[in-house]
Amino acid sequence: MARCARSPDAGERRLHPSTARTALAAALGIGLAALLAGEIASAEPGGSGGSRAPGESEEAADPFEGVEEVTAWAVEAGMVPELVGASTSVLSMDDFVGEDKSLADVLSETAGVSVRRFGGAADPAELSIRGATPSQSVVTVDGIRANSILTGGLDLSQTCAPLVESVEITRGAGSVSEGSGAIGGTVNLVTRAGADQATTLGQLSGGAFETIQGSLLRADRWKGLDYTAGYCGLSTRGDFEFARPVIRSDGVTTRFHPETATRINNDRIVHGGNLAVGRTLGAGQLRLIDLASFSSGGEPGLDSGDGETAGQLRRAHSRNLSNLVQLRWDGASPFGDGEDFSLAAFNRFERARFVDDEQPLLGEVDLDTRLATTGLRTRDRLRHEVLERSLATDLGLDITADLLRSNDRNGRSRINLGAHVGEEIPLLPGRLALFGAARLDWTGDFDPRVLPDVALVATPATWIRLKIQYVGAYRAPSFDELYHPDRGFIRGNPSLDPEEAWTVQGGLEIDLARLGPLSALRFELSGFHREIDESITWILISPRTLAPINTGPAQTNGFELGFSVDWTRYVRFSLNHTFIDSERRDTGERLPGQAKNDTFVRLRVGPEQAWKLVGELHRIDEIPVSEGGSRRLPERLVANFSAAVNLAAQRFVPIARPRALWLFVDLDNLSDEAVRDTLSFPQPGRNLTAGLDFRW
């Protein structure tokens, strides 16, 4: 007897042959047929694919009596995320439990994002989106900008991963919301705050180079207050061994002596903490959110020169303290009928100290720099009806004051203002929408800029989205670029102009809940073209003096591909690929620091909540390390492996059962590759970490 029945474990459906053929065609065409016919578009997640009439019973008379049974794959539509226009990814840090992932690890494995690391654990790491510089990408923490006003970038090593709940990455856009700096895109770190039930999270691990880290976080309610308080700490000796560069040029090879060295003066401790307290106030929620970090340790500097120390600084030391606090009210809009109003007052403070009493010519160096940004940020969404269409208008206003105090230069300050308005116009409700937005942004003494953002988003079905977007962006020079004190060998340039840029991008997203034996299939392809002019680059204006200048136009083209799929609940495969090709118009040469291809492949085996084995391969093309590109770091393929078991999910565990108790082992850089993102900063070879991760 032929049947049309579901096989839940295998994720298969058995269909009538004619229906099966339709479904198979749709699947092989990755939904293209469905897009045209609109049949699958109406399928709901978990639905039957239309093969059975409502109320039809398997026990009813079988009309296919005698017909041969055929097994075929079927498609169950998924739901593309509600993010529109931009190319956006949201990563949950809980997906990486038991894998010893840092924030830099997670970001570097994402399509369109690369991380430039200057060493190992707790060493500086900078973010690059689509090949843009760190200062051309805005990083926010709970919506508040965290980039340094001194350098424009952000050191990712200063933020503990256990205190972060999720990471929202927006590629190619974000300038309307964030203003200056969002040329490559934006990253928003959402710290852990609040929980449905009293929760305690903790982690403790130890590993190579005497690296120990731990964290403890508690979220609960107390007398009408929601609170979350967390701490994380890391201590490392950082004394990894590394291979010195071997230079092959025109058939001649030169080497440093000795050919390997040990990173010295690289010990560091990091302490981080977050606190979030919230309570109901009026028609909304009032919250105080604070994220603080402190780090102290040696600064070995460059790997250069001969000898055992490889030219590293033996006595340089730095201490950094930063704190970002915001008081925020979210609730019903006082101007509209939505629930999307927010008003935040915030302050970001940073103090950086650098001391070295062994600088060859300068003698003792003792730099003490304090930075502060104080501001207000408000957002609202107004909903209204026009011509029987439901429209939404986004409004935003930002006011900030930046302040710099340092013992090596005159104090500086500047006021920044930004206001934006955006409109969502449903051309075909639920299917085609036009988004238009513009921001008026004014940074310090620079002329105000208008930043446009226009997007057309087609959602022919719930599981597929097509989008195209144009975004204008700019970046005002940082305090260092403008006012770095003239030390002879380095100086700022007060006559710099802001960088100007625009990006046009398009993409396709597909989200299928089920495809034959596969499930949770997600595919995303985005392409972009970015033009930038007046790009700010530090160059040697004389053999002895480094200074920033505005350079000519450059363009970057590229695409990102993201794919992930489950096969049963035991196997999950994902692949992220980024292609970037850039060109400086004057010379036709590529911009430095960008690999052309960056591919990350990850395979997870095991029921995720009980145990998992994770294997990863990360391949990165050659990285040009000089303007003009004649010097290149080698391509590399780095393999990582981790194994983790959740004892709480094992029946034999004879202890009080937590919600989760993971024991894990993580082995990075299995084949012990020589890894560098920049010429003079080595990264560790093979290293192992073990620890536990728990949740009560």
């Binding site: 190579a208 092959r248 060998f489 204006i541 004389s542 303007e627 004649s630 010097r631 290149r632």
Partner: protein
């Protein structure tokens, strides 16, 4: 934490800390410009360049990161690297790690940083290193180190060489240590502060250790080595020229500090380039570029004190004359001297200028009589001798780049070389990337000094991009004209340029070549 620490220890024991690449980290360079070759170095700026005085198909290049001497084959349009010998950690072949050797003197460890190279005699190249101050000897054809026998007299007046073999002994090495304690009397630094005693030399009298070993010259059986002597906080200590007796025999070369005059103090700060030459009258002399105190920036404001060209009579040895250049801030290289010995040219460190001196007054015998202080050849000394052609007050200004492009924030850094026939000066500018040709009309016997009209601009080539064209080949640092007649002695490019950005490159340029 204890448990985690124990885990960390256990894993370390288990060998889970890798070495970060057993095959090394191979940094590859790529040929991007047809007439240029990247240097096998991580550093942008090569340290020095020299070609043998006879027509030859090789050039020697010095570099840092790693320290090396590289030999280039000049037979094609593009120089090709043939060999590169790195210094290693025992650069002078004394059997000890350099860091260990110098720690006993400085109190901390440093390794050499390769500096300029000069071919001082047929087949002999000398390269300077700083930090570990010395002059290394190389075979100019192969780049192989040449062993030297170092000796130290029982006593030296006004000088101590702590890394030389002990007094009365000798040792074989490949480098001549130029780390010296000198004892200037009544001297001040470039900030006007009196020189204080240096306990590493003598805690009881003004003294300092020489540093930044620069130019070299061999003349009159002596080796002269300039040391720039930069103090902390960018202040200059008195410039010095160390004097060694240089005895070359078929069995080898023996070097010993001059027993009578082991050190000369220059007329100003920052003694850098040295060049030996013969005057028209056949007198062997050494010219010393004394730049004066210079900042680390660019532009006229970068020049902090007066510059000179000192003239050393190697036979005595002493500084017999000095030619004041005013606030010129010449570049650090040795003066470029025309083959007939009539004029010498210098580049500028901070402006788009050239400077020149007339060498003919140096044949005046009155300069060499007695043992007076150096005579200033500025028209106000004996017989009104004036050797100044172009100075800080009246420089030779290079014409602007023909396409009108200049470089933001870069006000000039020039270098000069003179062609083998002595008819033209070629001058490069780091900032705008040009190479300018200047005629040398040295005929007849005009009065001292030569009038400026004798040096017309003949043309200019935009050989490289202006310094602010990021990504383009630019920033020429040093020009060297090849010996020989272009088209006859060689058919490849006749001028070599060391280029600093975007990478260190050695380029061949055709100026007179067909």
């Amino acid at each position: 934490m204890v448990a985690a620490g124990a885990l960390a220890f256990a894993f370390a024991l288990a060998g889970c800390e890798g070495k970060g690449g057993s095959e090394g980290l191979v940094v590859r360079t790529e040929i991007l410009v047809a007439n240029c070759a990247p240097t096998p170095s991580l550093s942008a700026f090569p340290a020095g360049l020299a070609v043998p005085p006879q027509a030859s198909d090789v050039a020697l290049l010095t570099q840092t990161d790693p320290n090396a001497v590289a030999i280039y084959d000049l037979r094609g349009d593009r120089p090709r690297a043939r060999f590169a010998g790195t210094l290693g950690v025992d650069s002078d072949a004394d059997g000890s790690d350099d860091a260990d050797t110098i720690r006993s003197v400085l109190g901390f460890a440093v390794y050499p940083v390769m500096g300029e190279i000069q071919i001082v005699e047929a087949g002999l190249a000398l390269a300077s290193t700083s930090n570990y101050e010395q002059v290394l000897a190389y075979d100019a054809a192969t780049g192989a180190p040449i062993p030297l026998t170092l000796e130290q007299p029982d006593a030296l007046p006004g000088l101590a060489l702590p890394l030389f073999p002990p007094p009365g002994t000798s040792a074989q090495r490949t480098g001549v240590s130029t780390l010296a304690c000198v004892y200037p009397e009544g001297a001040v630094d470039s900030n006007g502060q009196a020189i204080a005693p240096d306990a590493r030399c003598d805690a009881a009298r003004p003294s300092f250790l020489t540093n930044l070993t620069a130019g070299k010259a061999i003349a009159g059986g002596r080796l002269f080595v300039a040391t720039s002597n930069l103090g902390r906080s960018n202040r200059f200590l008195p410039g010095t020229v160390l004097v060694f007796d240089w005895a070359q025999t078929p069995s080898g070369i023996t070097v010993r500090p001059s027993a009578t005059t082991p050190v000369l103090f220059t007329s100003g700060f920052n003694a850098t380039g040295l060049a030996a030459f013969q005057t028209v009258g056949g007198r062997e002399l050494v010219l010393v570029t004394v730049t004066g105190a210079i900042g680390t920036g660019t532009g006229p404001g970068n020049v902090l004190s007066e510059a000179f060209v000192d003239v050393v009579d190697p036979a005595v040895p002493r500084i017999v004359a000095t030619i004041p250049l005013g606030f010129a801030g010449p570049s650090f290289d040795a003066p470029a001297i025309d083959p007939s010995g009539r004029v010498a040219w210098l580049g500028a460190s901070s402006t788009r200028s050239l400077y020149a001196i007339d060498l003919r007054p140096l044949d005046d015998p009155r300069l060499y009589e007695g043992d007076p202080a150096p005579i200033r050849l500025d028209g106000q000394s004996i017989g009104g001798l004036d050797a100044r052609i172009f100075t800080g007050d009246a420089p030779f200004a290079l014409p602007p780049r023909s396409d009108g492009r200049a470089s933001t924030g870069c006000e000039g850094l020039t270098d000069v070389t003179i062609n083998a026939s002595g008819t033209e000066v070629f001058a490069s500018d780091f900032c705008d990337g040009t190479v300018t040709r200047v005629g040398l009309e040295l005929g007849g016997d005009p009065p001292f000094p030569y009038p400026a009209a004798r040096f017309p601009v003949l043309g200019q080539e935009s050989a490289f991009a202006p310094n602010d064209v990021v990504g383009a080949l630019r920033s020429p640092l040093m020009l060297v004209a090849r010996p020989g007649i272009p088209g006859i002695d060689f058919t490849s490019p006749d001028v070599l340029a060391l280029v600093g950005q975007p990478d260190g490159q050695l380029c061949g340029i055709r100026i007179e070549s067909p």
